[in-house]
């Protein structure tokens, strides 16, 4: 019982991290209509920023620096690599994103070397909860993830800019005719997504205190899977998909016979869900116009 409980709590906090990354994917997809393959590598840049700034000894400064650097990087990448391709084929944008991903990874190896670096941001202890030992950092992750999602939902629903984002994702052309600054909205989306990636990087470091050039690649793919499971373009869907994937992963790793097949199980889940609901849990069907 306790084992299942701690697997569930571990899964929820992992799911919270996936959800934060998935939000970045889903918002960029919804608004810019592109797969930002380099999103996972923004997490890596956040991780290295924390590693560098932690030399000052201040976790808060490190977190702030990571958010600032990631937002700046997200905006710069958008302006230099993706904006020139606005209106080009989705495939061209996808390939560019893959190029950016490779570029960031190899830059990290050149600057920081190939050996992974250990970094301890903050030491949380453990608490006993209904007989199960639980990491406090997992609970913090969960709480922050929930707060971020609630804040983001309110922001989109009730602020002028948030509604403008919704409008752009609904119909870019019409939104432009209504006087919405589409380019500004897209830049803002990248900024928000990158800030979330920096936070995800932080919580990843609390869970696994190591940074390396490829640390963002697999969480990125998994979070993208989560975004698709939840219905890409949908913000509650990203949260739902992230949590679901985190739980599956955590529970699967707890059972020795199926543990080696965890990746296969997660990706099979994706395929099964897309077969039953081709648009994911909460995605909306788009009618194609002639």
């Amino acid at each position: 019982m306790e084992e299942i409980l701690s697997a569930l709590i571990g899964g929820l906090s992992l799911g919270g991290i996936y959800a934060m990354i998935a939000l970045g994917y889903t918002m960029v997809y919804g608004i810019a209509k592109m797969l930002n393959f380099a999103h996972g590598d923004i997490i890596m840049v956040g991780g290295y920023t924390i590693y560098v700034v932690m030399a000052t000894g201040s976790p808060l400064l490190a977190i702030a620096a990571a958010v600032v650097v990631c937002v700046a990087l997200g905006v710069v990448v958008e302006k230099l690599a993706y904006k020139p391709l606005r209106g080009a084929s989705p495939l061209a944008v996808l390939i560019t994103a893959i190029g950016v991903s490779y570029l960031l990874q190899s830059l990290a190896q050149i600057v920081f070397g190939s050996a992974p670096k250990m970094v301890t941001v903050y030491q949380f202890g453990t608490v006993t909860f209904l007989g199960a030992t639980v990491q406090v950092s997992a609970l913090v992750t969960l709480a922050v993830a929930a707060a971020v999602m609630a804040g983001l939902t309110l922001f989109i629903k009730y602020t002028r800019v948030g509604r403008a984002m919704l409008a752009v994702s609904e119909d870019r052309g019409a939104a432009q005719l209504m006087g919405i600054d589409v380019n500004g909205i897209i830049t803002l989306t990248f900024a928000i997504g990158s800030a979330l990636a920096a936070l995800a990087g932080l919580f990843y470091l609390l869970k696994a205190p190591t940074v390396s050039g490829t640390m963002g690649a697999m969480p990125g793919i998994k979070a993208f899977t989560a975004a698709v499971i939840g219905g890409i373009g949908s913000i509650p869907g990203a949260m739902l998909g992230g949590i679901a994937l985190g739980l599956v992963e955590s529970v699967s790793y707890s059972f020795a016979p199926i543990a080696p097949y965890t990746d296969a199980i997660e990706f099979s889940l994706l395929i099964v869900i897309l077969l039953v609901r081709p648009t994911g849990f909460l995605g909306r069907k788009r009618r194609e116009k002639v």
Partner: protein, 387 residues
């Protein structure tokens, strides 16, 4: 649009014909002025630290041998190629080294590419003594030898230790299911374990190599955990598990653990549990040839890449040098332009004929059996006591 493609295809043809100019010669070593030792290892990518260690230490040994006059005045030269731990890069690396005059090889640094290398080199009869590709199948050819313990042997020795000291108890096992090294040790460990011992096991894969909360949860009641994995995931596991496992638990690792106490940012004294490893080299050695090697290595390359891979590579170069010297002393002629195949026959005769290396960095007495596996004693190092 059509025309430029035709131009392009023509260029392609020209390139293809240009390459044809290089037809196979009879001997690639005819112009050698030094004995050429080749090795393929990961110089970039996630495993780069192992390749760098082998490159540095082998260079160190070659420089020392050359400074001391080489083999009767003939010097040695080391060629290192990057395989990124990818088996598909090996054929290119191997053929370019061979065509560049390679006469002897240290094989590959890691096991995956080594499985290609052993066959390619067997086809051409090229001698190799690998410092660290520990797969059981690596020395299966007549031309291949290992300086490190084979994975299966490590698993057997570890199982014997557990059978002797922990009969009737429950132990934990934590391994990496998609890695040849970890899986190789694990399989033989399980196969040789006493049935009275109950095993709680869990694993991880490359895709999930940093977050171990689920695995820690599975192992949380174990007081002895066997971990046949490399030190960087091991250090992560320990950091994440330090409050969740019993403070008196013991982590028991193999040679992959070496270097765990010198990772930047990881303070092993913060871990309450005990850490022990079974290895042929201790990077914290205080005396003997190991200490001499560590001092020379750290002086030249720093502590970052000091590990058992390098120590083993250093011994490999000296083992090859020693065997060649012994053959020369016994009256065999080894000209500098000797072909790789002829030199392989000479070295095979030495290694199969009871050639023994003494007072080396990774063992007081090292010899090889018929199959090419190494004979030396494994030492159990206590890296850190509990508490």
């Amino acid at each position: 649009m059509k025309r430029n493609k035709i131009v392009a295809v023509l260029l392609c043809l020209a390139m293809g014909l240009g390459m044809l100019a290089g037809c196979a010669g009879d001997s690639y070593t005819a112009d050698n002025t030094e004995f050429v030792i080749g090795v393929s290892g990961p110089l970039t990518g996630d495993e780069a630290i192992y390749g760098q260690a082998v490159k540095n230490a082998a260079e160190l040994a070659v420089e020392e041998i050359n400074a001391a006059g080489g083999l009767n005045g003939v010097k040695f030269k080391l060629v290192v190629t990057d395989d990124m731990n990818d088996p598909t890069k090996v054929s290119t690396n191997y053929s370019s080294m061979l065509e560049g005059g390679m006469q002897i090889s240290l094989g590959t640094v890691t096991t995956s590419p080594g499985l290609e290398f052993k066959n390619l080199s067997a086809d051409d009869n090229v001698f190799f003594l690998t410092p660290s590709a520990s797969g059981d199948a690596i020395p299966s050819g007549p031309n291949g030898y290992q300086m490190c313990f084979a994975d299966g042997n490590q698993g057997k020795v570890a199982a014997a230790f557990v059978n002797e000291n922990l009969a009737g108890t429950t132990i934990g096992v934590f391994y990496k299911s998609d890695e040849a090294y970890s899986k190789g040790v694990y399989d033989q460990f399980k196969a040789n374990l006493d049935p009275s011992i109950e095993v709680v096991e869990t694993s991880f894969t490359d895709a999930n190599a940093t977050d171990f909360s689920a695995q820690i949860n599975t192992l949380k009641d174990c007081s002895f955990i066997f971990m046949p994995i490399y030190y960087s995931p091991a250090s992560l596991f320990m950091t994440q598990a330090k409050d969740l496992l019993s403070p008196t638990a013991v982590y028991y690792g193999c040679d992959g653990f070496d270097g765990i106490d010198s990772i930047p940012g990881f303070d092993i004294s913060q871990i309450p549990q005990a850490v022990t490893m079974l290895s042929h080299f201790n990077s914290k050695a205080e005396d003997g040839p190991a200490k001499t090697f560590i001092d020379k290595y750290v002086d030249k390359y720093g502590r970052d890449t000091l590990n058992q891979f390098g120590a083993s590579a250093y011994d490999c170069v000296y083992a090859i040098y020693g065997a060649m010297k012994k053959a020369v002393d016994e009256g065999t002629e080894i000209p500098v332009t000797i072909s790789a195949s002829d030199l392989c026959d000479i070295l095979k005769a030495q290694f199969d004929g009871g050639y023994t290396m003494t007072d080396a960095v990774t063992g007081a007495s090292i010899s090889w059996d018929e199959q090419g596996y190494v004979n030396k004693s494994a030492i159990q190092y206590v890296i850190k006591e509990a508490g």
